[in-house]
Symmetry: C2
Subunit: 340 residues, 2 copies
Amino acid sequence: MASIPHIGIDAMGGDHGPSAVAEGLALAFREMPGRFRITLIGERDRIHDALKRAGADRLGVEIVHASETIDMAEKAVAAARKRSSSIGVMTQLHKDGKLDAIFSAGNTGAVVATALLGLGRLESVTRPALACFFPNPKGGTVVLDVGANAECKPSYLVQFAHMGAVYARYLLGRDNPRVGLLSIGEEDTKGNDLVLESLPLLRRAHHLNFIGNVEGRDLFKGTCDVVVTDGFTGNVVLKTAESVAALLVTRMKAEITGDPLAVLGTFFMKPALRRLRQHLDWEEHGAAPLLGVNGVCFIGHGSSGPRAFRSAIRSVASFVDQRVNEHIREEIEADRDTAA
Amino acid sequence: MASIPHIGIDAMGGDHGPSAVAEGLALAFREMPGRFRITLIGERDRIHDALKRAGADRLGVEIVHASETIDMAEKAVAAARKRSSSIGVMTQLHKDGKLDAIFSAGNTGAVVATALLGLGRLESVTRPALACFFPNPKGGTVVLDVGANAECKPSYLVQFAHMGAVYARYLLGRDNPRVGLLSIGEEDTKGNDLVLESLPLLRRAHHLNFIGNVEGRDLFKGTCDVVVTDGFTGNVVLKTAESVAALLVTRMKAEITGDPLAVLGTFFMKPALRRLRQHLDWEEHGAAPLLGVNGVCFIGHGSSGPRAFRSAIRSVASFVDQRVNEHIREEIEADRDTAA
């Protein structure tokens, strides 16, 4: 592994194609020069043009051609079999040790399936999980799983807790991360079967600062640093949260348009609204790691713009620098040893 | 049953006690005179004082004394055994036919448990479900279950679909309500075991305009009129949605305070912000019915203010007027007959 992380990016992933990737790269090279190397995977000509347009054609970015692209609507398992897709080629390069990490803002299911199939799991991990950062007034909370495992066993949730705690410690700088179990009430008696069975296992787990059950509202209060849940609930929560925020913004715009006084008002409020946007903006927090795979695989939002790609590069580079996977392995093995 | 619905209200339920109830009553009598009768249940003296303060002491409101109050933190099952609590006394009055419907903004778990125990189920219903209205640009979506059944079987979800469709038809005026199943992707192959097993049952159900899987984001887009899910996921989604909205408002206030220009801006935007608030306000939509109990039981948010009690009275009265329970019984029996 090189001393500077070598990151592969799926240039075809995301709603805005190679141009958003190239613009994001330009931002990242400006803000964090010398901290990473980049290889873009996808249609060579389109990537070349995009880099040129973004003024990023002399930054030493390598291009690896991939002839196929995976659609946002394609089925995950079928897509994972397309070895010549940008996602497939990129994953293989990572597996062969030619990349230290990979990132795609494409079809989440396809990226997850390709990574699981191509990279496999860290030897101590039963099920990798997708970890998502939720912004809140306490500096944010990591939630996992947000979609890799629709059906979970209690033991998976214990591993999610360990992986989430490592993420919070090394990437968010939390000293002794507080871990909560997502439920429908704080009391130990509240929850579905999975929660009721997971709770005692989490309480018994070593090296874990487990605080018990938390509720949906705690995600945005910042009651804890890590929240574990099954990938079905986590995914529903993530999409719900995004859409509430979007609805509020849409309604606000609708109410303001057609009201000249309100339009005047927004003029005075511009700096405040910009600060609000920065604080809540998902693009500032970049990408979600698929924790527990034998490699470094990050996934971004389909609507990722240049800033999201910039943030993703920052997150991926930190993940490699901080050797998060080694810590995950240690953490889960330590719990297994002491529990035995 | 009297021709004017006789509604019992737990005067001790909710964070603001009898005063919010009394003020809400005064609003309701002013806006909908002659459409309902009210009996308040709780501590007689406190209720009397609250009615006086709200100028609602000459509206013919009856009071039934209940010596005990159930705390918001009390365990549901233990609370349901307190027969002299305001919730217990009220439920008994409904069971005895002295009230046509009941409403509480108190401890949700306790109200649900008391109603299930005291009123029982409509004969055709396996599991009652709590139905919540989510506001969105298409006029809103009913989601159930949002908390009565943490663990569900596929057949329950089919009944939830029928009950939700009746609610949408008779209380929201939707002609042929579109019903969706909450999942993590629109494709039939996406979801956890419950979703995968429920989908074919829902497709086969008669009298149901079932549109397939929907996602968290569809709740706020208004893609369908009814969304069915298990009570664990539904409850997490509800609390998440509420807290995202609260976080956005809090952050916005924080950004505006200390920025004199932004404060000036809000002055111009007041009407627009007021319209936004009205549109998204949970208090305007009042209360959530526990569909499928052998009676009419509505539950309100703990933080219900006067407007929420006013809206609740309106919803409860419509529910009784429209004979929703009869329609639920017909709908579920019709499906059973044709399916047999």
